[in-house]
């Protein structure tokens, strides 16, 4: 019997001929990462255990992106611990404010992930990098500490749920909508402990950015990882990474066998998916955006590790161009990286968004997790292109978050209530 792409990646990392779902393996780690929230706890555990060396300083990334620029004294203290650890151990992939970006946009864009890699990150959205045909998964701080010392991670080889998206999505339907729709179908633990393998004509047609978005949200269905097979788009994305980077020089392309065993195969008609919104307080609580026009909003957040790439900001700008953010709405842009900001300046996207009345943030996770840069008060309601809408996620427990695509978020910012781009008169000229 054959293997899935995930089984092949993990077999190689474990130094074994073949592995099967359910096996527990010790896999070599190609990249281990943590942020300013999870690294301090990992560093404390690393030091408490008495370790004095890291396995490979070049294969560790420390990305202070959550509460930076430091939101308060405690956060500054945590960020300082990360910085000092990076200096002490020669962690070259430490990203200071001014160079830092949101980790799951920054690291693949910096060329730090190659196909066939095993990546673990002390952040649940580490599953994002499956878009470049790597295995990547979120872990805790102690796992990160262990990987820094050991260069390995223990993993239970996941079963794979194969999701096949047929047809061509409607013009305003993005990878985000496909993913919210999927989570709505299978539930927030519908892929628990499993790898979500995204296949089909609609996935072939998606941009790399939207594939990143889909893999990013595998965790919201309980998944261990998300993955898209390598194709021409993957190749072009990797070729355009920085010279000498891992994406350009390393990597091994794996392809799943036709007779691989899947826990489940789910076929989804992508052509029938509408612009989709997840209502409070679970990502699985989905509805068509068009059916929620009565829901007035106070804030819109566009960006994050889920939708903070240039492509996403351009989609938002395409809707907001020549329009104004509703007088009673704050629209906050959380770009993924400094390079995203530069590109958004160069192509006019930033100007369009600012002229429409959006606030443009430095790259930070801030508002997504109710940390800073856009916290909600009691009774307030937001539409966000982020990934979670749990109780209290963006601030007060009496606030509400609706998850959506950049198109729907931008349209809602204009309308002052949940809206589709068509409802605010947007037209699709050369977008996507």
């Amino acid at each position: 019997m054959g293997s899935t792409i995930t089984e092949k990646i993990l077999a190689r990392a474990a130094g074994r001929e073949q592995v099967r779902a359910g096996d527990i393996v010790e896999a070599r780690v190609d990249l281990a990462l943590a942020n300013d929230i999870t690294a301090p706890l990992g560093i404390a555990e690393f030091e408490r255990a008495g370790f004095t060396e890291v396995f490979d300083p070049a294969r560790i990334a420390l990305v202070p992106d959550h509460f930076t620029p430091n939101k308060d004294i405690k956060a500054a203290t945590q960020a300082k611990k990360v910085r000092e650890f990076a200096w002490k151990y020669g962690i070259v992939n430490y990203f200071e404010v001014g160079r830092v970006g949101i980790e799951h946009v920054l690291l693949p864009d910096a060329g730090m992930v190659a196909p066939g890699d095993v990546v673990i990150g002390a952040d649940s959205h580490t599953c994002t990098y499956g878009a470049v045909a790597a295995f990547s998964t979120g872990v805790g701080s102690t796992d990160f500490a262990a990987a820094m010392a050991w260069g390995h991670v223990w993993l239970r080889v996941p079963e794979t749920i194969k999701l096949v998206y047929s047809g061509v999505p409607s013009p305003w339907v993005t990878g985000k909508d496909l993913m919210l729709h999927t989570i709505g179908l299978i539930g927030v633990d519908g892929a628990l402990y499993q790898a979500m393998e995204f296949n089909g004509e609609a996935i072939d047609g998606l941009s790399m950015e939207e594939r990143f978005t889909m893999c990013n949200m595998a965790i919201e269905a309980g998944g261990k990882s998300g993955i898209v097979g390598y194709d021409e788009k993957t190749a072009r994305y990797l070729e355009s990474r920085p010279d000498g980077s891992r994406a350009r020089t390393a990597g091994q392309v794996f392809v799943g066998d036709p007779d691989a065993e899947y826990a489940r195969v789910l076929e989804i008609d992508a052509a029938a998916v509408q612009p989709t919104v997840s209502k409070p307080h679970l990502p699985s609580n989905t509805a068509a955006a068009a059916d929620l026009a009565g829901i007035a909003i106070d804030q819109v957040v566009i960006g994050s590790c889920t939708n903070g790439r240039l492509h996403d900001l351009r989609q938002a700008a395409g809707v907001l161009e020549g329009k104004k953010v509703h007088p009673q709405v704050r629209c906050i842009i959380l770009p993924g990286t400094q390079d995203v900001c530069l590109a958004a300046i160069a192509d006019g996207t930033m100007q369009t968004l600012i002229e429409a009345g959006c606030a443009f943030s430095t790259p930070t996770c801030g508002a997504c997790l109710g940390g800073h840069m856009g916290v909600l008060a009691e009774g307030e309601r937001a539409v966000a292109t982020t990934n979670r809408n749990f109780v209290g996620r963006m601030g007060h427990t009496g606030a509400e978050v609706y998850l959506a695509s950049p198109y729907v978020a931008a349209a809602s910012a204009v309308a002052g209530h949940i809206a589709t781009p068509e409802q605010v008169g947007a037209t699709k000229e050369g977008l996507r």
Partner: protein, 167 residues
């Protein structure tokens, strides 16, 4: 190891944002975190919880963020053990890696109510609801995970693997 305590019962999909809200993640001091354990799902929890108490929940306990602060917070708040119908995978890892006892037992999770007295025997997997006079059998851990637990967590295991280099 045997734990006996009063049940604090929750439903399904208890996420780590409600176990320890992100606004408190500007520290990793367990005492600070413990002050806010379960705050966004049960604001009175830290006042009611007594050392040794047991959290019981339905499916997918600990979903969402990877924050290890979640098991740290509830453990330091006094919780001896978490019994659930199922756990989200990162929380499950974090609990095993850090030594928070967790038990997968859908039957116990279905019947227990807040205020019940529960006795959990990690050795033989027996979960006894003393209030209801019922006894259930929890799922055993796979051997590798049991080894991690027996060794006192992941870092002890890794120390034995990296040997002298780990100091």
């Amino acid at each position: 190891m045997i734990f006996e305590g009063t049940v604090h019962k929750y439903g399904r999909d208890v996420d780590t944002d409600v176990i320890i809200p992100a606004r408190y993640l500007n520290t990793n001091d367990p005492d600070e975190l413990a002050k806010h354990a379960m705050e966004d799902i049960d604001a009175g929890f830290v006042d009611r919880v007594r050392p040794g108490d047991i959290i019981v929940a339905a499916e997918n306990f600990g979903c969402g963020s990877s924050r290890e602060h979640a098991p740290v917070a509830i453990r330091r708040a006094g919780v001896s053990c978490v019994v659930a119908a199922s756990f989200a995978r990162i929380f499950y890892r974090n609990a095993i890696n850090t030594g928070l006892p967790i038990v997968v037992c859908p039957e116990a999770a279905a019947t227990a109510e807040s205020g019940d007295r529960l006795r959990v025997d990690l050795e033989d997997g027996a979960v006894e609801n003393l209030t209801r006079g019922e006894i259930y059998r929890a799922e055993a851990f796979p051997p590798f995970m049991q080894e991690l637990i027996d060794r006192g967590g992941l870092l002890e295991y890794v120390r034995s693997r990296v040997g002298a280099r780990g100091g």
